[in-house]
């Protein structure tokens, strides 16, 4: 039997429809999908392609932790998240989040919550390949700091 995996890191193109099927059921009245794609220009600088790397087992564990956090905040929501790693070209899909719920408000809110948390706690890294060089995003800007040596827990500070 094929077990449905709600939280996945993959190295192949993501099929959006698959995630919709994972969260669809007779009880839901709304499904939102967030599709994160590779952007060509950031602050005027041209990206040629991106390279994503993950600590795969931990990343899947953290994605499912986000699922648990959502269950606590929105008990009737159901979430599926797939993130792609490897080399991605402009316009390729890097991440898809599907959230279903009986009513639309929850599906919208929980979906936004999921992408914000991915950017905080999931060990995935993006390397920019520009025309004139490369950089692992997040390691030089120092816009993100972890005073306690770990990410901020949901509900802490902010």
């Amino acid at each position: 039997m094929n077990e449905v995996r709600l939280f996945e890191i993959v190295d192949q193109p993501i099929i959006i429809e698959d995630l919709i099927h994972k969260v669809a059921s007779r009880e839901v009245g709304a499904i939102t999908t967030f599709i994160g794609t590779v952007r060509e220009f950031t602050g005027g600088k041209k990206t040629l392609f991106l390279e994503y790397q993950a600590y795969q087992t931990m990343a899947e564990k953290m994605l499912s932790k986000i699922g648990e956090e959502i269950k606590e905040k929105w008990p009737d929501a159901m979430v599926a998240i797939t993130h792609r790693i490897g080399k991605l070209d402009i316009m390729d899909i890097a991440v898809v989040i599907a959230v279903s719920s009986p009513h639309r408000k929850t599906a919208y809110e929980a979906n936004e919550y999921a992408i914000e948390r991915i950017k905080e706690i999931v060990p995935i890294w993006k390397k920019e390949h520009w025309e004139d060089g490369t950089e692992w995003v997040g390691n030089q800007l120092e816009t993100v700091r972890y005073p306690a040596g770990r990410p901020i827990e949901e509900g802490e500070l902010k």
Binding site: Y52, Q53, M58, I124, W125, W136, G138, Y146
Partner: protein, 78 residues
């Protein structure tokens, strides 16, 4: 033995994706970071979070024989 995993910027700085060290004399994450920082000068290590056996921990966390310690540079998924 402590198993250490390196990713992204640290992996590139140190030129390897894993290493193993004898745990003797190293009891906490802070001590491990100090030890590695001396041996392998790394800017990214200072900014990194730490996970032991796939759970985020603080610098005070104790490291046990056989643990897998991963250094997690600021993440940039999504």
């Amino acid at each position: 033995m402590i198993h250490i995993l390196l990713f992204a910027g640290i992996q590139e700085e140190l030129g390897m994706d894993r290493l193993e060290i004898e745990s003797e004399g190293i009891q906490t994450v802070r001590e491990l970071k100090a030890y590695l920082g001396q041996k392998y000068p790394s800017q990214v290590l200072k900014q990194s979070m730490t996970a032991i056996n796939e759970n985020f921990v603080t610098e005070e966390e104790e490291i046990k024989e056989g643990d897998t310690v991963a250094f997690i540079p600021p993440v940039s998924g999504g």
